[in-house]
C-alpha cells in the first residue's frame, strides 16, 4: 500500500520516505518554510513555483483543506515534503484532506523523512537543487538528475504563473481579517480609488485587501507594458509577489521604470525587488532564503517591530542601493533590506508580505499607507 518516494539533492544526499501526493517525478529548488500553520496558503502561493517546499513543523494536514484558505486557484509549487501527514483532519471549516488535495492537484509529496536533518543541510549548504520522485528510486540516477536540473537563477518563472489577460477583481477579505483591519484603524469599504495590480504570481489576499478597503481593482499580467497600464487610468499601481529570480524579468523592470513618478507604486516581495532593480539597485541570492511567518522586521521610521510572513530567496543588495532609494525596513534576523522608499517619487516596497495569509497581521498598516497615497 505504502508507496516509496525519494528526494535526492545535488550534493548527493538522498532521503527515502513515503509518497503521499501524486505519483511522478519533479525537479526543483529544495527550500523550507518554518510556519506551523497555513500549509494550504503556502501550497497555493505562486511564489513557490519551481520549488520543493519542506515544512519544518512535523504534523501537517491536521485541519484538512477548505475552499477559502487559498492564495491561488491551485498549487503551483513543484513538490511538498513533511515529516508526518495526518491521516485524519479535524476542523469545522474543512472539506477534504491534504493527501487527496495534493493528488487532485498533481503535486508530488514526500512524508516520513527526517525533515529537520534536511533543513539543517539546507541551512548549512544553502538552498539546493533536488529531485523528488515516486518513479525512479535509484539513488545515483536521482542525484544526477538533481545536478542536471535547471535551478532557479536566471529563469523567468513568472510567465508560468501570471494571468494571460486583464481581469477585474471583486473578492474581499474574510470577515475575521476585515475585523482586524478595522481594529487596527484601517477603513473597510471607504476607499474609492482604482488600483492596477501587476500580477507576477500574485497571492490573492493582496487584491482582497485592496477590494475590502473599497477600491476598484484591476489585475494585469506582469508583462503588461507601462502605456497600457497608464491607459487604464488607475490611481496607483501595485507590484505583486512572484516566484524566483527578479533579474531576468527585464520587461517588468522596464515597465516599472516608466511608471515611477507617474503614479503611486507599492511593491511586495518580488514587486519590491523589481522596484529596486528598476531604480538601479541589484539583487542577490540568499543562502537559503526567508520562508516563514515569524520573521521580525524593524520599521526604521517608527522603531517598531512587525512579525512578518516572508517567502523569498533573493534580496536587494544594500551596497548597490541608488541614491534615489532609502531603506525603510530591515529584517532583524540578518539585517537585510526589508523595505525601501523612493526619495522623490511616491513609490515604496517591502520584502515581506503584509497580506500575510498565512501569517501574522502586523503589517496591515502598509495597505493603509498606500491607501492614503492613492487618495492624493
Amino acid at each position: 500500500m505504502i508507496q516509496t518516494a525519494k528526494l535526492a539533492l545535488e550534493d548527493g544526499t538522498v532521503y527515502t520516505g513515503e509518497a503521499f501526493g501524486a505519483s511522478g517525478e519533479i525537479a526543483g529548488e529544495v527550500v523550507f518554510n518554518t510556519s506551523m500553520t497555513g500549509y494550504q496558503e503556502i501550497l497555493t502561493d505562486p511564489s513557490y513555483r519551481g520549488q520543493i517546499v519542506t515544512m519544518t513543523y512535523p504534523e501537517i494536514g491536521n485541519y484538512g483543506v477548505n475552499a477559502e484558505d487559498v492564495e491561488h486557484a491551485s498549487p503551483s509549487l513543484a513538490g511538498f515534503i513533511v515529516r508526518e501527514q495526518s491521516r485524519v483532519f479535524s476542523n469545522y471549516r474543512a472539506n477534504g484532506d491534504l493527501a487527496a488535495y495534493l493528488k487532485s492537484n498533481n503535486i508530488v509529496a514526500l512524508a516520513g523523512i527526517d525533515t529537520r536533518a534536511l533543513v539543517r543541510r539546507i541551512r548549512q549548504q544553502g538552498a539546493m537543487k533536488g529531485v523528488l520522485s515516486t518513479e525512479d528510486l535509484n539513488d545515483d540516477s536521482l542525484v544526477n538528475k538533481a545536478k542536471n536540473s535547471p535551478g532557479l537563477v536566471g529563469r523567468d518563472l513568472v510567465r508560468e504563473v501570471m494571468p494571460f489577460e486583464i481581469q477585474s477583481w471583486d473578492q474581499n477579505l474574510d470577515q475575521w481579517t476585515e475585523e482586524e483591519v478595522k481594529r487596527q484603524g484601517g477603513a473597510i469599504g471607504t476607499g474609492k480609488a482604482h488600483l492596477v495590480c501587476m500580477d507576477f504570481g500574485m497571492k490573492w489576499n493582496i487584491p482582497r485587501h485592496f477590494a475590502s478597503r473599497g477600491n476598484q481593482v484591476t489585475v494585469v499580467p506582469g508583462d503588461t507594458p507601462a502605456e497600457k497600464i497608464l491607459e487604464l487610468g488607475g490611481d496607483g499601481v501595485f507590484l505583486s509577489n512572484g516566484p524566483g529570480d527578479p533579474e531576468p524579468l527585464d520587461y517588468a523592470q522596464k515597465t516599472i521604470k516608466e511608471l515611477i513618478g507617474k503614479t503611486p507604486i507599492f511593491g511586495i516581495c518580488l514587486g519590491h525587488q523589481l522596484l529596486s532593480l528598476a531604480c538601479g539597485a541589484k539583487t542577490f541570492k540568499l543562502k537559503f532564503g526567508h520562508r516563514g511567518a515569524n520573521q521580525p522586521v524593524l520599521d526604521l521610521e517608527t522603531g517598531k517591530v512587525e512579525i512578518t510572513t516572508q517567502n523569498h530567496g533573493f534580496a536587494v543588495e544594500e551596497d548597490s542601493l541608488p541614491d534615489c532609494l532609502e531603506i525603510t525596513h530591515r529584517n532583524l534576523n540578518d539585517d537585510t533590506i526589508a523595505g525601501v522608499r523612493h526619495k522623490e517619487a511616491t513609490a515604496f516596497g517591502v520584502q515581506h508580505h503584509p497580506e500575510a495569509s498565512s501569517g501574522p497581521h502586523d503589517s496591515h498598516y502598509l495597505f493603509d499607507r498606500f491607501q492614503k497615497q492613492l487618495a492624493k
Binding site: 518554518t34 485541519y63 484558505d69 523523512i113 533543513v119 511567518a293 521580525p296 534576523n333
Partner: protein, 1078 residues
C-alpha cells in the same frame, strides 16, 4: 535608549510555598529575573518565604529576605531597603496579590516605589471580572455570557440571554457546591431555586455553558514600545470544563488553521494592549466552539504563569528573563535570542516537534476528596515530553509521569486483558466525567471498539487527538499479533519507536523482557538520536545544548570533549513527598560540577523547574526518567559519573538497573542505598552498631500479626510493606483498633506482608542531615520537630537549632550519625530520622530511618545554617574530601529557623486535615528570627495561619491530652482570649477554674461550632483528634474550618508553640533581615 537608569534597586516578590496551582515554575521565573536584572547592574531585593528555592539562595539576589509574604512584612522590607521599583509579575498570583495589597494600603506611595511591568490599575483591569468584561467588549471580543441574579425573575431573564445549556453557580457556597449545568428549563428552575436558597447572599451566577469547547492558551510578550510577540500557542487535549492545569496540553496548537490561529493571535494582541500590561509576559485563554468557530476570551493573567514556564521549556524562549529585561526598559529587538545568539528576542518561536504536558495527581493521598476534574485545579505536578510527532510525545509523557505507565498501555498499569479489565459501562462512566485516569480509559474504549465519533460525543475531545490514540493502539495490536520479539523486523521496530513505544511496552506485547528488547533493538541498530530545542526549527544554528530524544536519521549531540562529565538525574514531576527540594539539590549539583570544571548533564522531565532551565547545566536532556531513556542518554554521552542521590525517589528507583547496565553511579553505592531500605539488613546493622530501633516485626497473616503485636506492645504502627509514602499507615492504641487496621493493611498489601512497629508515643522526632566523604562525617544540621513522632517528617514543623533537647542527647545523635555513615560507607548526603523518648526522665535515642541520599530538608538546612550542603556533597561525590573543601565542623547558626509545612486541604473540600504518618503537604515555608517564638510566629504567618491577638479560640482536645488542655487554657486566658470548648474539654478547664463557654457537639443541635465558624466568631481552633476521618464530628469541624479559612491546629505540641508565638507577637515586633546579613 536601552535601559532605565533612573531606577537602581528593584524588589521582586516570590510566590511562597508550593501549593496546588503554584509550584516550582515561579522559582524558575524568579531566579531568571533576578539573574537578568543583576546582569544589568541593578540591585535586586527578593522576598520569598519558601526556603526550598534557588531564588532564595544568597547568591541569587543582592538582599534576600526569607519572610512571610504579607504586605505588612513586605512593607518592613521596603522600609529597610527603600527600593525604587517593584516588579510584581514574576511571583505568581501570590506575588501579584501582595503587590496589589501594598498598593491598596498606600505602602508603595509612601515609600515612592514604582510598580514596573504592570501597575495596579492594569492588574485590576485584568483580574476583576466586570472590568475585564467591559474591556473585552470594547475591543469587540466575546466573553462567556453570564449574569448575576438574585430572584427567579432575574434568573429567567438571564436564561433568555445565555440560552441552554446554562451553568448555575450559587455564590459563596462552601467549595463551590451547588454548581451544575441545566440542560432544560425544568432543571434550570430547580437549580436556580436551590442555588438561591443555598447561597448565603441569595445570589446565583447564570452562565452560558462552554463545557466541551476547545481550549487554547496564548503566551504573549510586550515591550514598552508596544512590540508584541506570541511565544507559544497551547492546545488542550481535555476540552473546556477541566482546569488548564489539570488538562493534558499540547504545543503548538494542532487543530487550528492559519485563519483561526491568526484570529486568536489578533485577539491576544488586542487584549494585552487594551488591558495595558506595559511590558512582559501574559497568558490569555480562549475557548472555541468546535461547531462554528465562535471564540470566547476566558481570562488573562497579566503576569508570568505556569503556562509561561511550560511555553519557555516547550520553545526554548526564556520568557521570565526577557520579561525582566523588558520591565527595565529594553525593547524586544534590543535583546539577543540566547539560543541562536545571532538573532534577536523579538520574534515568534517556531518549533519542529510536538510537546505534550500531562498533569500528575495525588488523589491516593486524599481518598475522601472528589477525584472529578473540574475548573478548580487539583493536580500537584506535571511532566512534559518532546517528540517529533504527537504520538511519540504523548507516549513519552505517559512514562515521564512516573505512575507505573510506560506509554499508553501494555505495561504493569494496564488493566486490559487482566481480571480487572473494565466493562463497557465502567469505561463509559470514566469517559463521561473528566478524571485523572481518563487517558487510560480512552484506550480501553478504543480497544473495545468504540468509534472515535462515539468517544468524541461523550468526551468532546477533538477527533484528531482521538485518532492518534487509535493509531497507537493499531500499532500495538499489530505488534501483539506478531507474538514474539524475533518477529519484529527493523521497520516494525522503528515504527514502534517512532510512535514513542518504550522497550517495556514492546516487551509486554511480545512476552519478553525490557532488557531483551533493548539488546535486540540495539542489535537491529534502532537507537535514538538527540535533536535540539532551538526556538527556530533549525533555521539558525543553536548554541544552547538543550536536547530531546527521537528516532530519526541525524543526531545533533556534539562529541564528548576533554572535560569530564557527570549526569545528574532529576526528580521528574512534582508529587507529594517529592518536589522542589530535590530540584534545588539537582541544580546545586550542576552548579558545583561546573564550578570545578566538570561538564554537567541534567536529565529531567518537569517543565516547572530551574533544573530544566536552558542555562543551569552544560547539557540538558528533557527526557522521561526511566531506565531506557537514561541508558540512551548514557550511551550517547558516555559520562564519567551519574548522580542518583539528589532527585528523590525517582533516580533511586533506577539505580539498580543502571548499575547492572554498567553505568558509573558515583557517591554512595547502590548496595548501601538498598541496605538502608531493606528492613532485615538494616536491623542487623543497627544491632551491630549497638544502636536502638523501636521493636518491630513482620506479619504474613492475622495470626502472626497478633503474635507480633503481643511482643512489640501498644501503641503499634501498622503498615503494608512495599507501599510508598506512608499509605494506609495507622497507629493502633488497642486490640480493637489493631484488629481492624491490620485487616485493612493486608488488603492494601495485596499479598505482601504487613509491618508492625512499636509506636513511640510522645517521642520527639529529630532529623539529622550529614555529609560524608567515606573518611570524615560532618553534620550539616540537627532539626527538632515541633510535632511529636507519628506525624510524617515531611508534614511536621521543625527547628534549627534543636530547642528542647539536652546537649548530651544531641551528642549521642552525632555519634550515631557518624557510626551509621561510616558503616554504610556513605559518600555524599545522608539523612537520619531519630526519635527521642523520655521515660522516667531518662531519654532514649531510637533510629527510625536512614536515607543515604539527599532529603527534603537539604535546602532548609542550607538556608538555616548558611552552608551550601548540596554543593559540598556533590564535590565529595566526585572525589574531593571534606578536608580539602575545608568543611570540618557542624555549622552553628546564630538565629532560630523554623520550617513549617503547607497543605492543599482547601482544594479538597471535606477532607480531614489531621496529620499522620502519611505525608500530604505540598510545600514549606521558613521563619527566621532571633528567638523560637518569633521564628515560629513568622513560620505560621508565612504558612497562611493567622495567629489571632484577640477573640474566641475553640479548644477540643482528645482525652489523652486533657492535662495539656488545662495548660493551654490557662495560657490563652492569660493572653486575653475567650475560650469555647466541647463539653468534655470545657469540664476539664472548669475544674481548673478557667472561664470557658461550652458549646454543643454537632450531633446535639445548635448553636454548635459550625454555626460559630459560619458567623465568623472563631479565630483559631485547637483540636487534637480522638478519631480520624471526614465522617466523624471532629473531621467535619476540621474540614469546615479549612473551608472558612480559620486556622486549625491539630497537635498539642504545635498548639503550645502557637501560644508562645502569640505571646511573642503581643510583646514584640517582627523584624526582617536579609540572609546576607545573618
Amino acid at each position: 535608549m536601552p535601559r532605565r537608569d533612573d531606577i537602581k534597586k528593584i524588589l521582586i516578590i516570590g510566590s511562597g510555598p508550593i501549593v496546588i496551582g503554584q509550584a516550582c515554575e515561579f522559582d524558575y521565573s524568579g531566579t531568571q529575573a533576578c539573574k537578568a536584572l543583576r546582569e544589568e547592574g541593578y540591585e535586586v531585593v527578593l522576598v520569598n518565604s519558601n526556603p526550598a528555592t534557588i531564588m532564595t539562595d544568597p547568591a541569587t539576589a543582592d538582599s534576600t529576605y526569607i519572610e512571610p509574604l504579607t504586605w505588612q512584612m513586605v512593607e518592613k522590607v521596603i522600609a529597610k531597603e527603600r527600593p525604587c521599583a517593584l516588579l510584581p509579575t514574576l511571583g505568581g498570583q501570590t506575588g501579584l496579590n501582595v503587590a496589589m495589597d501594598l498598593d491598596a494600603n498606600g505602602v508603595l506611595e509612601k515609600y515612592g516605589v514604582e510598580m514596573i511591568a504592570a501597575n495596579a490599575k492594569v492588574i485590576a483591569k485584568a483580574e476583576e471580572r466586570d472590568q475585564f468584561k467591559l474591556a473585552m467588549e470594547k475591543i469587540g471580543l466575546d466573553v462567556c455570557l453570564g449574569h448575576v441574579v438574585h430572584t427567579m425573575e432575574e434568573a429567567r431573564e438571564a436564561l433568555a440571554d445565555v440560552g441552554l445549556p446554562a451553568v448555575v453557580r450559587p455564590s459563596f457556597t462552601m467549595g463551590g457546591s451547588g454548581s451544575a449545568i441545566a440542560y432544560n428549563k425544568d432543571d434550570f428552575e430547580v437549580l436556580c431555586k436551590s442555588g438561591l436558597d443555598q447561597s448565603p447572599v441569595t445570589e446565583v451566577l447564570v452562565e452560558e455553558s462552554i463545557i466541551g469547547w476547545k481550549e487554547y492558551e496564548m503566551e504573549v510578550m510586550r515591550d514598552a514600545d508596544d512590540n508584541v510577540v506570541i511565544i507559544c500557542a497551547i492546545e488542550n487535549f481535555d476540552p473546556m470544563g477541566v482546569h488548564t492545569g489539570d488538562s493534558m496540553t499540547v504545543a503548538p496548537a494542532q487543530t487550528l488553521s492559519d485563519k483561526e490561529y491568526q484570529r486568536m493571535r489578533d485577539a491576544s494582541l488586542a487584549v494585552i494592549r487594551e488591558i495595558g500590561v506595559e511590558t512582559g509576559g501574559s497568558n490569555i485563554q480562549f475557548a472555541i466552539n468546535p461547531a462554528d468557530g465562535r471564540m470566547i476570551v476566558i481570562e488573562m493573567n497579566p503576569r508570568v504563569s505556569r503556562s509561561s514556564a511550560l511555553a519557555s521549556k516547550a520553545t526554548g524562549f526564556p520568557i521570565a528573563k526577557i520579561a525582566a529585561k523588558l520591565a527595565v526598559g529594553y525593547k524586544l529587538w534590543e535583546l539577543p535570542n540566547d539560543i541562536t545568539q545571532k538573532t534577536k528576542a523579538c520574534f515568534e518561536p517556531t518549533i519542529d516537534y510536538v510537546v505534550t504536558k500531562v498533569p500528575r495527581f495525588a488523589f491516593e493521598k486524599f481518598p475522601e476528596a472528589d477525584a472529578t476534574l473540574t475548573t478548580q485545579m487539583k493536580s500537584v505536578g506535571e511532566t512534559m515530553a518532546i517528540g517529533r510527532t504527537f504520538r511519540e510525545s504523548l507516549q513519552k509523557a505517559m512514562r515521564g509521569l512516573e505512575v507505573g505507565a510506560f506509554g499508553l498501555g501494555s505495561d504493569s498499569k494496564d488493566l486490559w486483558g487482566t481480571d480487572e479489565q473494565p466493562d463497557e459501562d465502567a469505561v463509559r462512566a470514566k469517559l463521561g466525567t473528566p478524571n485523572a485516569e481518563r487517558i487510560f480509559y480512552l484506550r480501553y474504549a478504543l480497544k473495545m471498539g468504540m468509534s472515535i465519533e462515539q468517544i468524541h460525543n461523550i468526551t468532546h475531545i477533538d477527533p484528531w487527538f482521538l485518532d492518534h490514540l487509535l493509531q497507537i493502539i493499531e500499532l500495538e495490536n499489530e505488534t501483539r499479533q506478531l507474538g514474539a520479539l524475533e518477529k519484529i523486523d527493523f521497520d516494525q521496530m522503528l515504527r514502534l519507536k517512532r510512535d514513542g513505544f518504550s522497550d517495556r511496552q514492546i516487551a509486554t506485547m511480545v512476552q519478553s523482557t525490557e532488557s531483551k528488547v533493548r539488546s535486540y533493538r540495539l542489535e537491529q541498530g534502532v537507537r535514538p538520536v538527540f535533536k535540539s530545542v532551538d526556538t527556530c526549527a533549525a533555521e539558525f544554528e543553536a548554541y544552547t545544548p538543550y536536547y530531546y530524544s527521537t528516532y530519526e536519521s541525524e543526531s545533533e549531540l556534539p562529541a564528548k570533549g576533554d572535560q569530564k562529565r557527570v549526569v545528574i538525574l532529576g526528580g521528574g514531576p512534582n508529587r507529594i513527598g517529592q518536589g522542589i527540594e530535590f530540584d534545588y539539590c539537582c541544580c546545586h549539583a550542576s552548579f558545583a560540577l561546573r564550578e570545578i570544571g566538570y561538564e554537567s548533564i541534567m536529565v529531567n522531565s518537569n517543565p516547572e523547574t530551574v533544573s530544566t532551565d536552558y542555562d543551569t547545566s552544560d547539557i540538558l536532556f528533557f527526557e522521561p526518567l526511566t531506565i531506557e531513556d537514561v541508558l540512551n542518554i548514557c550511551d550517547a554521552t558516555n559520562p564519567d559519573g551519574v548522580i542518583v542521590q539528589f532527585g528523590g525517589q525517582t533516580p533511586l528507583n533506577l539505580a539498580r538497573g543502571l548499575k547492572e547496565a554498567g553505568v558509573p553511579i558515583i557517591g554512595t553505592s547502590v548496595d548501601t542505598i538498598e541496605a538502608a531500605e531493606d528492613r532485615e539488613r538494616f536491623q542487623a546493622l543497627i544491632e551491630e552498631l549497638e544502636l536502638r530501633q523501636p521493636p518491630s516485626g513482620i506479619a504474613r497473616n492475622m495470626e502472626e500479626a497478633r503474635r507480633e503485636v503481643e511482643r512489640i506492645g501498644y501503641p503499634a504502627l501498622v503498615r503494608p510493606s512495599f507501599v510508598l509514602g506512608g499509605r494506609a499507615m495507622e497507629i493502633c492504641y488497642d486490640k480493637v483498633q489493631f484488629e481492624r487496621y491490620v485487616a485493612e493493611a493486608f488488603i492494601v498489601a495485596d499479598g505482601q506482608p504487613v509491618l508492625i512497629d512499636h509506636f513511640l508515643e510522645g517521642a520527639t522526632e529529630v532529623d539529622v542531615d550529614a555529609v560524608s566523604d567515606g573518611t570524615d562525617v560532618v553534620i550539616m544540621g540537627i532539626m527538632e520537630h515541633i510535632e511529636e513522632a507519628g506525624v510524617h517528617s515531611g508534614d511536621s514543623a521543625c527547628a534549627i537549632p534543636a530547642f528542647s533537647i539536652a546537649s548530651e542527647v544531641l551528642d549521642e545523635l552525632r555519634v550515631a550519625t557518624e557510626k551509621l555513615a561510616r558503616a554504610l560507607n556513605v559518600i555524599g548526603l545522608m539523612n537520619i530520622q531519630f526519635a527521642i523518648k523520655v521515660e522516667d526522665n531518662v531519654p532514649t535515642v531510637y533510629v527510625l530511618e536512614v536515607n543515604p541520599r539527599a532529603s527534603r530538608t537539604v535546602p532548609f538546612v542550607a538556608k538555616a545554617t548558611g552552608t551550601p550542603v548540596a554543593n559540598i556533597a556533590t564535590k565529595v561525590m566526585v572525589g574531593q574530601s571534606l578536608q580539602q573543601l575545608g568543611v570540618t565542623e557542624e555549622p552553628k547558626p546564630r538565629h532560630v529557623s523554623i520550617k513549617e509545612s503547607v497543605f492543599p486541604f482547601r482544594k479538597f473540600a471535606g477532607v480531614d486535615i489531621v496529620l499522620g504518618p502519611e505525608m500530604r503537604s505540598t510545600g514549606e515555608v521558613m521563619g527566621i528570627s532571633e528567638t523560637f517564638p518569633l521564628a515560629f510566629a513568622k513560620s505560621q504567618i508565612a504558612a497562611g495561619v493567622t495567629l489571632p491577638t484577640q477573640g474566641n479560640i475553640f479548644l477540643s482536645l482528645s482525652s489523652r491530652h486533657k492535662d495539656s488542655a488545662a495548660q493551654l487554657g490557662k495560657d490563652l486566658t492569660a493572653l486575653g482570649f475567650n475560650l469555647l470548648a466541647t463539653p468534655g474539654t470545657a469540664a476539664r478547664l472548669q475544674e481548673e477554674g478557667i472561664e470557658v463557654t461550652a458549646i454543643k457537639k454537632l450531633s446535639e443541635g445548635h448553636p454548635n461550632l459550625i454555626d460559630y465558624l459560619k458567623n465568623e466568631d472563631v479565630e483559631l481552633i485547637m483540636n487534637t483528634p480522638n478519631g480520624k476521618g471526614a465522617r466523624t464530628d471532629e473531621g467535619k469541624i476540621r474540614a469546615a474550618a479549612v473551608q472558612q479559612g480559620v486556622p486549625c491546629i491539630t497537635t498539642v505540641a504545635a498548639a503550645g508553640a502557637a501560644v508562645r508565638a502569640m505571646q511573642a507577637l503581643r510583646d514584640d515586633v517582627l523584624q526582617v533581615e536579609p540572609l546576607q546579613d545573618r
